[in-house]
């Protein structure tokens, strides 16, 4: 996902003004992209203060390295990578809380290899706006309840749209570990959503 600013200022013009050191251009950059960057940071950092700190760190880092920005990428994409990185850095400096093991959230099997609780179909379409909102909140809450190491991989790959190599690089783990964690995180998220979405189809 990129940070499509609304309304998007002409990136090229803004870039030229930033490179020329025009003070007003820095403020425009913050006002145009800050909202979306904050939304990204909040996905990784549920504590508002941490999310804001990450956005501030990201902008300061962007200001320092604006002259290294290569015009072949979108400014929005470049800023997106910087805020994701700042959010992950912030997470690393925070004290970790004990959390649930991912194994407790994976599907259970009988001795013969069949599911303990076979999956049922879900119904997630034809919802009214209130139900859509409820579903969105449920998904976000469920993502946040995943163990951090798995949640970060799911956010980077499925939500922020990074590829396996980029995610591995940012998290300092192997591409194989990214794939394993992504698959487990998706399974765990599915398990967390299932009781709610099954209920919906039964009602």
């Amino acid at each position: 996902m990129t940070l499509e600013a609304t309304p998007a200022p002409s990136e090229q013009k803004l870039l030229e003004r930033l490179l020329a050191g025009e003070e007003q251009a820095y403020e425009e950059l913050v006002r145009s992209y800050g909202g979306r960057m904050l939304a990204v940071a909040r996905r990784f950092l549920p504590v508002e203060e941490d999310a804001r700190d990450a956005v501030q760190d990201a902008f300061l880092s962007a200001f320092r390295s604006i002259h290294r920005f290569e015009g072949n990428a979108r400014l929005s994409t470049w800023l997106h990578r910087i805020v994701v990185n700042a959010a992950l850095m912030k997470l690393r400096t925070r004290r970790r809380h004990p959390e649930q093991s991912i194994d407790d959230l994976l599907p259970g099997y009988l001795e013969d290899g069949h599911f303990e609780r076979p999956a049922s179909p879900w119904r997630t379409d034809g919802l009214d706006p209130a139900e859509e909102h409820e579903l969105r909140e449920l998904v976000l809450r469920s993502i946040h309840s995943l163990p951090e190491g798995h949640r970060n991989v799911l956010l980077l790959r499925d939500i922020e749209g990074l590829d396996t190599e980029e995610a591995a690089d940012l998290l300092q783990i192997s591409p194989g570990a990214v794939k394993t964690r992504l698959h487990r995180a998706r399974q765990a998220l599915r398990e967390l959503l299932e009781p709610h979405l099954r209920e919906r189809s039964a009602s």
């Binding site: 939304a39 956005v55 290899g113 999956a119 969105r136 993502i143 939500i159 998706r186 399974q187």
Partner: protein
Amino acid sequence: MKCREFVEFLMEYLDGALGESERRVFECHIEDCPACVNYLETYRETVRLGHSVCTPDAEVPPDVPEELVQAILSARHPKR
């Protein structure tokens, strides 16, 4: 193939990363196992839901809090 193995290789199957013979075994299992069909569909739906709740269309871009804007701009000139 058992449901446990089906789930283990599901992501590779969806990514088209399974070899021809493995894929055939996989598809053979789906034909006989409604629980795995449901699992596959809800796994896909999980990925779709995760993606859709965070796309720009679904998300109203939050305003940048004014104090954050000011904090960023003043941190740019810490000596001022």
